[in-house]
Amino acid sequence: MLEVKGLFKSFGGVAAISDVNIDFPTGSLTAIIGPNGAGKSTFFNLISGGLIPDKGSVTFNGESLIGRSRAQIIDAGIGRAFQVARIFPTLTVEESLLGAVTAHRRRAQNITHRFPLPEMRDRTHEVAEMLGLVEKLGVTSANLSHGDQKLLDIALALVLDPKVLLLDEPTAGMGPDERWRMIERVHELWEREKLTLIFIEHDMDIVFKIAPKISVLCYGRLLAEGTPDEIRTNPAVIEAYLGTSHAEAAV
């Protein structure tokens, strides 16, 4: 279980995250929603070692993640993908994934063998297949479509064998059809890999349809938690979030 307790983070005196407590039970699927600037990406950064919290604790299966290096947090089993796909533009899909597996298995400094080490291939191809990237393995990442770049970003996190996967807006910048394809893939991934999956999403249709549990962040605070039905009817959420034009457009 991933537990977040009393988490605080401020930038220049402005609180980005204040007193957030959320539990993510093993194998759960949670959507994090909230208006722009609610602190969602900051929240992910605090969990994945991208930022260090001012106060509070993040523990995974009882072990604290605070103050650990990114590498240690990855080893603990926390993986993440990014809102804007962060990929390696000049490398092919296969090279990127092989490189990630190599780093994960502590062979990044190896100079005596040729790249790729044969034992890295299985995991690479497994993940490529899971995300439908097999056809694209030889393609240079910069030449991938936007959607495939997002998939590659997720694949890069997935080859590291995470137990918890953080996806920052997996459907950002996609058309409606593409969104649903993406989210189906993510959902399938969650079921197959028995991951604890946490994702940030703006599209309310998607959130209410696939997330059994939703956490609402607003101005850095945890506004509400619950099932889609509870969130839909929560007066505080309606006032603070669903009342915005963004939600109106989505609902």
């Binding site: 590498a71 962060r86 490189g99 780093a103 190896n110 100079i111 040729r114 790729p116």
Partner: protein
């Protein structure tokens, strides 16, 4: 695709053929000038290729790589002159001391990003340059290391003989490039490419960026200093120009001229620039004017290295053939 990736056996064969051709060259075409050119190009090829490990493969734009070239020349020359050791020992001293230099300078410089990294490497180079100029009793100041470097025979090799010197230089160059080639095609080489492409993402894959960059910096430093060592053997001395900023400038021009996206590009650039320098020096007193004009033509006209053009040509041809094949 990965199946056609160059393997070690192929690279060794290419290196062996190249070495044999270079070793036979003086017999096929006996020319003092040719020998001199090949030795100088060998020194510069090591220098430029090692610089490209940083610039091209890791995205670390060092403006101070000449520091290692000069350091290698002085370290080797001083070991031979002052310590009276054998040549293999002096080579070992050069390698170890330049690795230490790379470790110290790298550990400080790598913490700085982008243009600041470039500047601090240049600053360290100029610091070394100032030291060389100022420490007259040791280095001979602006006169350079005078009196020649002793070249006692070892293992049947006598570097005071021109043909031995030639064979020694090309062997060090070919073996050096082969090792560098192995490094850039190793898992570590791909770690460096990932850091170049997206440093932030690399850290989120658990890559220790600092450690990888420092390793690259030290390796590049060692091979850069071997280039300087070959040069010192060739001119039987070491001069402040080897440590001066122009050395770094020429190194960068070499890799741009030859192309930094191919492994052999920088070595090709070393050859082209050396030829160019010879032609210009022979044809005119106004070396800077003509070299400058050539650089301008390159930077504003070609904009790509020679081997980049060749690689592009092959790529277009291959793509055309796959398209027509479908």
């Amino acid at each position: 695709m990965l199946s056609t990736r160059p393997n070690l056996a192929r690279d060794i064969s290419i290196a062996a053929v190249a070495l044999i051709v270079l070793l036979l060259l003086p017999y096929v075409w006996p020319s003092r000038m040719m020998n001199d050119l090949v030795i100088r190009v060998s020194a510069f090829a090591l220098f430029a290729t090692s610089l490209n490990l940083l610039v091209g493969y890791t995205g670390m734009v060092s403006f101070g790589h000449g520091m290692f070239f000069g350091f290698g020349a002085y370290a080797f020359g001083l070991s031979m002159q002052r310590l009276g050791v054998s040549i293999p020992t002096a080579i070992l001293i050069t390698i170890v001391s330049s690795a230490l230099l790379g470790l110290v300078v790298g550990a400080i410089s790598i913490r700085l990003k982008d243009i600041y990294f470039s500047f601090i490497t240049l600053a360290f180079q100029m610091l070394l340059y100032s030291t060389v100029i100022a420490w007259v009793p040791l280095t001979g100041g602006d006169q350079g290391l005078m009196g020649g470097i002793p070249r006692p025979p070892f293992l049947g090799i006598d570097l005071s003989i021109e043909s031995h010197r030639y064979a020694f230089a090309v062997t060090i160059m070919v073996v050096g490039l082969l090792i560098l080639r192995q490094i850039v095609e190793s898992p570590f080489g791909y770690t460096l490419r990932m850091i170049r492409d997206n440093t932030e993402r690399a850290t989120f894959l658990g890559i220790n960026v600092f450690r990888a960059k420092l390793t690259a910096f030290v390796i590049a430093g060692v091979f850069g200093s071997l280039g300087g060592m070959v040069m010192a053997l060739f001119v039987s001395g070491a001069y402040p120009e080897f440590v001066n900023w122009t050395m770094s400038g020429e190194g960068i021009f070499m890799i741009m001229l030859g192309g930094l996206s191919t492994f052999i590009g920088p070595a090709a650039g070393a050859l082209i620039l050396s030829l160019l320098n010879d032609v210009i020096t022979r044809g005119t007193e106004h070396h800077g004017l003509f070299l400058g004009a050539v650089i301008l033509l390159f930077a504003l006209g070609l904009r790509k290295g020679v081997t980049d053009f060749i690689a592009d040509w092959f790529r277009t041809r291959r793509e055309a053939s796959t398209r027509s094949g479908n």
